[in-house]
């Protein structure tokens, strides 16, 4: 058989040059996406493309604050993505809560629940800062240090413990069944 490790540099180059983004804007930073994608900053010249389906996406942009309710969807979307997958956290809210530091309804440390590869500081980061973060993640992909997806597999118990602490045991099933009684009543 062919030893695919020989082609790893080519694959890394392709991964770096063709990052598809999940079109899932979690917070206020979603408003930075239109200028990034349209003619002003045009991310498509780096081969990036917003993609509505998580199954074929590589890069997950956490744009802004994350509420527990959104975090459930983020975790499920993150697990739907196929394997070399990268997470880029925008702004100070995913880092430490930002201006929502005392809010009951915003996550304080995102990297306790899913692995974050690159975090951009700022509230909100300008499109230039986001592009800088993307350049950073491209470098990390090329030299193989963007290994968040490996860390998620290796330390899955720890991540799962943190998630369960926040949402309670069995939150996936509970969330999936949440609306069933109300649908039945109709």
């Amino acid at each position: 058989m062919v030893d695919w490790r020989l082609f790893e540099p080519l694959f890394n180059y392709a991964r770096k040059k063709s990052l598809w983004i999940v079109a899932f804007c979690t917070g206020c930073g979603g408003i930075e996406m239109p200028p990034l994608m349209t003619s002003r900053y045009d991310l498509e010249r780096f081969g990036m493309m917003p993609n509505p389906a998580p199954r074929m996406a590589d890069l997950f942009l956490i744009t802004g604050y994350v509420t527990p309710k959104t975090l459930k969807r983020i975790i499920i979307t993150y697990e739907l993505q196929p394997d070399p997958k990268y997470v880029l956290a925008h702004g100070s809210c995913p880092l430490n809560g930002g201006i929502y530091w005392d809010s009951y309804n915003a996550i304080k440390h995102l990297d306790r629940y899913i692995p974050v590869d690159v975090a951009i500081a700022g509230c909100m980061p300008r499109p230039e800062a986001v592009m800088d973060g993307i350049k950073k993640i491209m470098e990390m992909i090329e030299n193989g240090t963007a290994d968040g997806w490996k860390r998620y597999k290796e330390n899955y118990e720890w991540y799962k413990k943190n998630q369960d602490e926040l949402f309670g045991e069995g939150w996936r099933e509970k969330e999936a069944r949440r609306w069933i009684p109300w649908l039945k009543k109709k």
Partner: protein, 295 residues
Amino acid sequence: MLEIALRAFLILIYATFVGFMFMGIIRIVTARIHRRVGPPIYQPILDTIKLLSKKSNITHGLIYDFGIIYALGATILALMFIPLGNISILRAYGDLILITFLLEIPMLGIMFAAMSSGNPWAGLGAQRALLTLLAIQVPLGFAIIALAQFYGTFSTYEIVMAQQAGGWSIFHLPLFLAAIAYDIVLQAMFGKEPFDIMIAPGEISLGPMVEFGGKHMGMLQIQHAIALFAETLFFANIFLGGGSILVLLIKQVAVLMIAIFIGAIFPRFTIDQAAKFYWKWPTIIAALGAILASL
């Protein structure tokens, strides 16, 4: 025997490469119309390499894998029947109806796979794709009838030969009408903008494509590239007079450009509007062409 296999392989390589370049051209030209820089022309190749090199792969059963192979196989088979200069292998058997049929089969294969994944968006997209397929049948049929009536044959190769002698098809009025109808149909076959109802990113999140990831999506990219090549090649052959590979390439790019320009400036139809549109204007034009051709 070996020579035929070699030629088939060469055609396949050529079609895949040019198809990827066409996908790159689509993205660049669309970007330029938006006043953006756009990706490099080899971007779809990088995308495909990346998709094929994904480390995890999700499958939803046998039909899910089979549908994609089915789509890819049907596209390659259709490609082999279309005359491509003088290196084509099955061109003598290339029947108009056969090729048209084979060019539509990939959509069915993708639909098998999408429906078996169980995703509601995929089901919705497959429904829309079926409706689009239904809508384009009528004008397509009339355009084919016009061609067959005019030349008195169903063979693509003989039509190309007749055009070498008597001028391109579009210079005859009945076939010009048929070509207009066929070009509108081509817009839906490419999945370009006024009729990209089945894909509809942002509305039903890529429709049938929503569950495909990794290697499945990579195969579909290759299939899309070959289909793009085959569809433009078929149009260039039956309406624009055929020719050698290089001449055909120029004609194909011209066909592609019309599709891109229409796609970049028009918004999307809803499904009922698209069906109404197809059953009204292209049908009238193509039927007129068929009637004129038979007179």
